[in-house]
Amino acid sequence: MKIFVCIKQVPDTETKIKLKPDASGVDFTGVKFVMNPYDEFAVEEAIKLREGGKATSVVVFSVGPKARVVEALRTALAMGADDAVVIDAPEDLDSAAVAKALAGAIKAEGDFRYILTGKLAIDDNASAVSQMIAEYLNIPQATVVSKLEIGDTSAVAEREVEGGTREVLELRGPAVIAANKGLNMPRYASLPGIMKAKKKVIKELTLDAVGASAGDVRVKYKAFQLPAEKPPVKMLGGDAGAQAHELATLLRNEAKVI
């Protein structure tokens, strides 16, 4: 059984966001791109399943501008994934179009059982692609998963919701699993792993070949704005007692928040 993992390449979390002069989007000039941090948990989990004999190989997919996105795929290969597929696509596809492309590419592989993703991508925080892939493949999903056990006929996934509540789901048959932090500790790529990944041939597909197009886009983003400048901070002086007293007074009388 092959395990499929869908990953996204996103700006590194250290990135300072600059906007294009016409505010139509973010200026990515000089921005360092990395594998979405939550997708690392998905890749790690898939590799562990293969190492545990629950899967024969790990195939990683990504949708986006080919020249850039292959770097994230090489990271996954260096971690230990077996094969990688890039679906070349413009920068601004939305969750619906990306999910349609991924579902199409997975279907083309033939048999599918488990598809792993990150719970969300840290660029747009949409947390939508995983559920949409599940819908397009007509299989169940479990998102925000921090514990996963794959049995012979079903999988048991534990998802975390508000207030520390945990929901335990049994998924019978194929399913999409969206990983949360806590599922595992992603490994670092080893040097031999990196060397090996460099030599691997990454399969290239077009959007057309997987049955998706820019016409599948349902959401676009425009009129970007940077957050309003905050007024300068008011620093409170004196000893700890005086500072605490002044702060409590300001929060009640000036800010009116307590």
Binding site: P11, V161, E162, T165, A175, R218, V257, I258
Partner: protein
């Protein structure tokens, strides 16, 4: 005439605050209001008092636990039949899991985490949302999307009482006749009893400056006095002092409470991105050059171990008066 359908989450026989916010926004639009509620007791909710015109309920224990497959089948078939111009839901964990799937089923657009919303009389939507965990914001533009699904963050819209009550029709929504492949085995309730970070009105967060896990007790005491939820920076989560569910930041939770108190947090860019939407920010740090002070409303340069207990005392005095 265009309809707006509100997905109303509820607990203990009452609409959740987020649902009241959405109903207020729906009334403001002047559109016909439909409401959908799933779970035991849904039928008894005060829809009429909220100015709802048409109610859809699946009032049964089957819907008391969230089953993604059951919910998406049920909601998708209702929405595909009703074709509202706008669907509003709170951007809760449940809705964020459910509605992308419903949107894909209907072939329409969905946007989670919206913070601004205007609905025009013709059923068009103007919404904004944070991007890159709040490093910037953008307007959401729906394309080829006869139904627009908007998930609003709680605490962003004002609750206004309905000016007139209505007597809505109530329709039962049936669960689809289909074998489910998803079984809910167990729901283990969180023990904290505190609001989740994403819903909390006040957050007290600790960072590396707290020196060790045991010192978070001090922040819990402060939080208890304020009715706040305790959060943390990535550094202390990675150090294993607190669970990752407490992490605020770009790889944790993005929060926007009324008051955010950062104790011993220097303010890495990922943390600042996750909390800079807070209305009032208090920073307590011994390093006057810590980046957190650039985002703060009020700053205290000092030792957290001296300042935090004094603050707890001060708040006790204030709040007990």
């Amino acid at each position: 005439m265009a309809n707006v359908l509100v997905f109303t989450e509820f607990a203990d026989g009452k609409f959740k605050k987020g649902a009241l916010e959405l109903l207020s926004a729906a009334r403001k639009s002047g559109l016909k209001i439909q409401a959908l509620a799933l779970g035991s007791g849904a039928k008894s909710l005060p829809f009429g008092a909220e100015g709802v015109d048409e109610v859809f309920v699946a009032d049964g224990a089957q819907f008391d636990k969230y089953n993604p497959e059951l919910f998406s089948e049920t909601v998708s078939s209702l929405l595909a039949a009703q074709k509202p111009a706008v669907v509003l839901a709170s951007s809760t964990m449940l809705a964020r899991d459910l509605f992308p799937r419903v949107a894909a089923h209907m072939g329409v657009g969905v946007s989670s985490d919206c913070t601004e919303l205007e609905i025009s009389a013709d059923g068009n939507v103007k919404a904004r949302r944070p991007m890159y965990a709040g490093k910037c914001t953008a307007e959401v533009s729906f394309e080829n999307s006869p139904t627009k699904i908007v998930l609003m963050r709680p605490n962003q819209l004002t609750v206004v009482a309905a000016s007139a009550a209505k007597s809505p029709s109530v329709t039962d929504v049936a669960a689809p006749a289909k074998d489910l492949h998803t079984i809910i085995k167990e729901v283990v309730k969180g023990t904290s009893g505190k609001l989740d970070l994403t819903e909390a009105n006040i957050i007290v967060s600790g960072g590396r400056g707290m020196k060790e896990a045991a010192n978070f007790k001090m922040l819990e005491e402060l939080a208890d006095v304020l009715g706040a939820t305790v959060g943390a920076s990535r550094a202390v989560v990675d150090a294993g002092w607190v669970p990752h569910t407490m992490q605020v930041g770009q790889t944790g939770k993005t929060v926007a409470p009324t008051l955010y108190i950062a104790a011993g947090i220097s303010g890495a860019i990922q943390h600042l991105a996750g909390m800079s939407g807070s209305k009032v920010i208090v920073a307590i740090n011994k390093d006057p050059n810590a980046p957190i002070f650039q985002k703060a409303t009020y700053g205290i340069v000092g030792d957290v171990f001296e300042v935090v207990p004094k603050l707890t005392e001060e708040f006790k005095k204030l709040i007990h008066h």
